[in-house]
Symmetry: C2
Subunit: 418 residues, 2 copies
């Protein structure tokens, strides 16, 4: 039996993602497709555009059989940790194939790159440190150090491309965790990950789609870049004011920074080198999140690095908790967000072999697992912004929501968003 | 030279307050009238209806010569501490007379009461403890214990009346701090402190005035109960959505309780006997502040006691900070909020004798005094709600605002709210 895994954010699910899903099925011949999806806060330190439940719905409609959550402690991290958590979950679920999208599009250069970096490990580390010392950001220093190894005649990947970086770490994690997973890649088409402008084609990056929504204040421009079901559900969320961005959370962050001392904020994950002092100072005079970030960023600290720190401050993700959660480099449980009949049959089939609990519903006041306690805080914070946006509607409550169940034959949700 | 002091909240300033000001001038023959006024958070654990700057403006228009701030550490407290802080400030400013409003209306019964409680101290304490053990709230237990002393033939005060309680503690503080201040009282007319319904007269309690504003969504009903200038400024604040209540701060409190552990909240002032656990639990399912408080209150904990705890949680006022600030039972500085020429002349006259600094403008990043650090946090939190209510207007910034200066002859503000 072939089971393919994909690692996704679907923020929101667009035509490029559909292409990736189709290619993954074709290339792997998978009977079951499992997606590990980030929850409420994403890799670049941003809140998700729409709730994880709605994104799960879109994933099921796009043909994913099982959607599980990548816990907060992994989802808001640099590529290395993000990958190790995601891959561990695919491993737990008995996935046989992993297929990722990349700028590169072929798997051999990824293999070569891992071999080369292994081989020149010492030289690479030395150069990396040198560039960091010179004040370059972490990803930039990596890319520069790597460029200098490119004297070999092997075909290597371009490590300045964000999806190549992720793919590199997926492959590396599979090797490190010694998982029996075959890794392949699909070339991303039509748009770069970081592209902020939409072109006229049917493929656009999620970044440019989000930007178009917030800049134009409507969804017209994104119509051709997303599947019809994405458009329909996003439109409905948009009309009910249930679409989120950092600005919706900024008052809470500002509040927190108004009442806490720099000393107490230094316990937050990624608060290093006195960044917390700088943040408190700049926050005082910044009325919007964008102004704040613009003043905050430097050559040394990328926007993404700083946004992640802000997310950790918002969620109160402490060093101690995060490091405890990350200790094993693997997820200690799997939160099931949604499935169809095919997915359910597969889960029934493997659940006794899964080395960690598969959680279908949360229990209140039971969050001793630091990984889960972080997920709960993230969910509560996300819900709060939802409440402020929606004073009169009761919003979906994390504790009450069972996994979504999609009847793929009759195109009908047997268990829907509450 | 006669200098009379009054201790006020002016939330908002109404006709009863005007009466108190006039009677204070008449009875004391004062040349200068000094008001110690609570800042952004008040004795019953509530945010002020309007900013302290606007309330200062109203005080100056009502004939007060000098308005100074009662620091947060004293303003959000039970009567005993509230009184000791207020009285210490009047002492620092060389006040010769203190005149308070009370249900009682004569000073002798206050004197008698202090003597009696002193005399029967042990018996009183014993009875107090008994009633507390039986589960009565602190004020109720006090009133019950006191009732049993009333066997003497002296005329005593009714200690179940809120303004009598405050007055009792003012007089007691003056004695304890051995201040050369003559204490007198004016009978409150027309409305009880706790009255929630407005009658048809020109006197109504501040409580009923606030209730009328929020219930009716307009200021029509309060017109006859407040001076014309109060009406005019409140109307203008109301039209600009700059009128506040707990609901405006509830999302921030809810946010904080979503990300903190009960253990870390147990460091908050007045978080005792596991109240923090109860608060976190009840908060999760309460969508409005009122629902939340309704579920929270018990026989043992009065609404006021719990509201104060919520305020301390909101402002992050820790036990350590508050106790450090309260150590001396006296204010360590005086924040000047406003004055007229008469007041300014008096301040120039006494400033060299004042034993603590008189602060006219705050310096950023200079809040080593725990009393001031608490005031700064309170101001920042209050401003945040103001920002959410007013996304497009720059709100008055605590750091930028110099004391208001009122030209009482020309009815003109020389230095106004920025």
């Amino acid at each position: 039996m072939k089971v393919a895994g994909v690692i996704v954010e679907y923020n929101p699910l667009h035509n490029g993602h559909l292409h990736h899903i189709q290619k993954t099925r074709e290339n792997t011949g998978a009977d079951v497709l499992v997606a590990v999806m980030s929850g409420y806060f994403l890799q670049r330190g941003e809140p998700a555009l729409v709730s994880k439940w709605l994104r799960t719905k879109l994933a099921l409609l796009a043909g994913i059989d099982i959607v599980v959550e990548l816990p907060y402690a992994f989802s808001t991290q640099k590529a290395e940790i993000f990958a190790s958590g995601s891959v561990s979950i695919l491993g737990h679920l008995g996935v046989t194939d992993l297929c990722f999208g990349s700028e590169q599009g072929e798997i051999l250069p990824f293999e070569n790159t891992i071999t080369i970096i292994d081989q020149y490990g010492e030289q690479y580390d030395h150069q990396l440190k040198k560039y960091l010392k010179e004040g370059y950001s972490y990803p930039k220093a990596h890319a520069l150090a790597f460029q200098e190894l490119k004297t070999s005649n092997h075909s290597l990947i371009d490590l300045s491309q964000p999806n190549n970086i992720l793919g590199y770490h997926y492959l590396k994690s599979v090797k490190e965790q010694a998982l029996p997973i075959k890794v392949s890649t699909v070339k991303r088409i039509g748009a770069g990950y970081h592209d902020v402008h939409m072109n006229n084609g049917s493929i656009a990056s999620a970044t440019s789609i989000r930007k178009a929504i917030f800049e134009h204040g409507n969804l017209e421009e994104i119509y051709r870049a997303v599947p019809p079901f994405t458009y329909q559900y996003l439109k409905s969320a948009f009309d009910r004011n249930q679409i989120y961005r950092w600005d919706d959370f900024y008052p809470f962050l500002k509040y927190r920074l108004s009442i806490e001392t720099a000393e107490s904020l230094s316990s937050i994950y990624e608060a290093e080198e006195g960044l917390e002092n700088r943040i408190i100072k700049i926050m005082q005079d910044s009325n919007t999140f964008h102004t704040f970030m613009d003043k905050l960023k430097t050559k040394r600290y990328t926007w993404t690095r700083l946004q992640r720190l802000c997310t950790h401050m918002l969620v109160n993700a402490k060093k101690e908790e995060m490091l405890h959660a990350l200790n094993e480099k693997k997820a200690s449980y799997i939160r099931l967000l949604g499935m169809n009949q095919n997915g359910q049959a597969y889960l029934n089939h493997i659940k006794n072999q899964c080395p960690v609990p598969i959680i279908t519903r949360l229990k209140k006041d039971k969050d001793n697992d630091p990984l889960m306690s972080l997920d709960m805080k993230a969910a509560k914070v996300y819900e709060l912004a939802a409440i402020s946006n929606q004073p009169k509607n009761k919003i979906n409550n994390e504790f009450m929501q069972p996994p979504l169940r999609y009847d793929e034959l009759n195109h009908h949700f047997l268990s829907d968003i509450k």
